[in-house]
Amino acid sequence: MIITENLTKIYSTDGGVKVKALDGISMEIKDGEFISIVGASGSGKTTLMNIIGCLDIPTEGKYTLDGSDISLLGSGELSRIRSRKISFVFQGFNLIPSLTAAENVELPLIYRKTEPSVRKRTVAEALEAVGLAKRANHLPSELSGGQQQRVAIARAFAADAPLILADEPCGNLDSRSGTDVMEMLHGLNRIGKTVVLITHDEKAAMTADRQIRISDGKVVV
């Protein structure tokens, strides 16, 4: 699913200083794996996730996602790949505050121009799967942190993308909700999705099939 070769990312700060966030990362993640990318804050793991998630492009190196060479694509194509192949689960949930839970889950389907009847059905299934069918018409402000994250997972479920990127999904949650969320991510993995978990939490990382450790922008063996 994911192959990176010598991925490097260099930022220029305002003062003209160059920061090397990623330094020659090469790795491979197979279809259907549950991988955890582990590192301390500042290690470059978020930068790596942004590139894997097609939110950013590498300065050097090559990134192949599901067979396509991402490094050659323009922003229009990047967003198309994103919408079809990747779903995100963010630390801050990132739900649209003015939309209800159901509408949030429906959003990726709207962008994908799915038919309305199919959309309604998929949304209902997704909310059912995360146990929030009764809260379909609540706004995010009316939901707890754990519930909001579950809506985000339902959104990922509904979008049915082959790759799920979860960036510190339990970072803002209590341990009980955190466990629920981890269980759901594993559930997604069980139905065949490739899950990449980015975290600094060792316990969560150890639930993955494999860990890739990052430090100072490099893979640590």
């Binding site: 994103r82 919408s83 990132n94 649209i96 003015s98 709207i110 962008y111």
Partner: protein
């Protein structure tokens, strides 16, 4: 899909209530101005048309061109002109600025010397009493018919048949008996403009001739055959009357048709210029829309980032913001149109004139606002669309 985008745009508008309302108002004010101005134009044109009708659109006046070489028009000419092709009747007409002394008040007026055909040719109608008849003309009677407005201005009521009025003619005031009250020719307009357009009084032309010491007339009024009245006829008649008087171009024919044309032209120029000025205010409100949208984009950066991360393309984001600004201007212009039409209707009711719907302007004001919403919304929409998700999500 555009349906859900439209709903989402509507929601965004509702969310920023006060900002949306202010933007909406700025558009509404501009559209209101345009609609009211065009309304005035349409109603004004209508009034001119109907006024000209009451003044006798089928009438024409033959008079000497300029003051020099004065060709005088006589009784024989009246007969001769009356028999020309396309002419129904002819009537001698005299006119002079005058002052009326009535009930101790001095009012400006214009005195017309007419005969019994005045009813048909210059369309005067008696609302009280009678009009000048052939006996008055034969007897050189000191009688007159006055405009209703003159009666109202002096006595405060319209039926003052039998009262006396002194008219300043030929250098001194002479007393006349009022035998009839005529319906004022220029209804709504005159009530607004009395003082500029003098009130009319009508007396037998023979009486007027005696007073001013002439045996000829200033003008001859013609009633044209109904279907014959057009620009071509005016020219033909001009040639014919001149040849009857053995003159090259000593006589001219003033056809109300062309005067109406002149008046409506002037009116349309005025309304066009005023509309353009109102259009400037619309442009200003367009800038307001752009400002409001830019602020909105700035506030929703994170939301745009989220949407892009879940699959929104640049076009999706751009459509969303464009729809929002177009809907804002559409609603604003609808409000402005409603308010503008309401004001026009109220004004017409108060002035007692007929309400004419300026359809063309309503449509163009609406379309212009919508286009403006799209134009001024493009830059903010583009800005939103081009946001890089990674920056937006920071």
């Amino acid at each position: 899909m555009t349906g859900s985008k439209a709903i989402s745009a509507l929601r965004s508008i509702k969310r920023g209530k006060s900002r949306s309302l202010l933007t909406l108002c700025s558009v509404a004010v501009g559209v209101f101005a345009v609609v009211v101005i065009s309304g005035i134009g349409s109603v004004g044109t209508q009034e001119i048309n109907s006024t000209m009708l009451t003044m006798g659109i089928n009438s024409a006046m033959v008079e000497a061109a300029g003051t020099s070489g004065g060709i005088s028009l006589t009784d024989d000419d009246v007969t001769a002109f009356g028999e020309l092709n396309g002419v129904n009747k002819a009537m001698p007409l005299m006119g002079a600025m005058s002052k009326a002394k009535i009930l101790g008040k001095f009012l400006n007026c214009y005195a017309w010397g007419v005969d019994q055909d005045a009813k048909d040719i210059i369309s005067i109608e008696a609302v009280h009493g009678r009009l000048i008849d052939e006996h008055d003309v034969e007897n050189h009677a000191s009688v007159c018919v006055i405009d209703e407005v003159l009666a109202e201005e002096s006595y405060g009521r319209s039926n003052i048949v039998g009262k006396k009025i002194s008219l300043l003619l030929g250098g001194s005031y002479r007393e006349f008996l009022i035998v009839g009250i005529a319906k004022s020719g220029i209804t709504g307009l005159q009530s607004v403009m009395s003082g500029i357009i003098p009130d009319f009084v009508y007396l037998p032309y023979s009486t007027m001739q005696d007073i001013v010491g002439k045996t000829s007339f200033d003008k001859i009024a013609l009633l044209l055959e109904k279907d014959a009245a057009d620009e071509g006829l005016a020219q033909t008649l001009t040639a014919e009357v001149n040849s009857l008087k053995d003159s090259a171009d000593g006589l001219v024919i003033n056809n109300f048709q062309s005067q109406k044309g002149q008046l409506t032209d002037i009116l349309s120029i005025i309304t066009t210029v005023l509309s353009l000025i109102a259009g400037i205010s619309l442009v200003v409100s367009g800038i307001t829309v752009m400002t409001a949208m830019l602020v909105s984009v700035g506030e929703r950066t994170r939301e745009i980032g989220i949407k892009k991360s879940i699959g929104a393309g640049n076009m999706d984001i751009m459509t969303e913001f464009l729809l929002e600004s177009v809907l804002l201007t559409a609603f604003g212009s609808m409000a402005g149109i409603a308010a503008g039409l309401g004001a026009c209707l109220a004004g017409c009711l108060i002035l007692g004139v007929e309400f004419v719907l300026p359809v063309g302007s309503v449509i163009s004001a609406f379309s212009f606002s919508v286009i403006m919403g799209a134009l001024f919304g493009v830059y903010p929409a583009l800005k939103a669309a081009r946001l890089r998700p990674i920056e937006a999500l920071r």
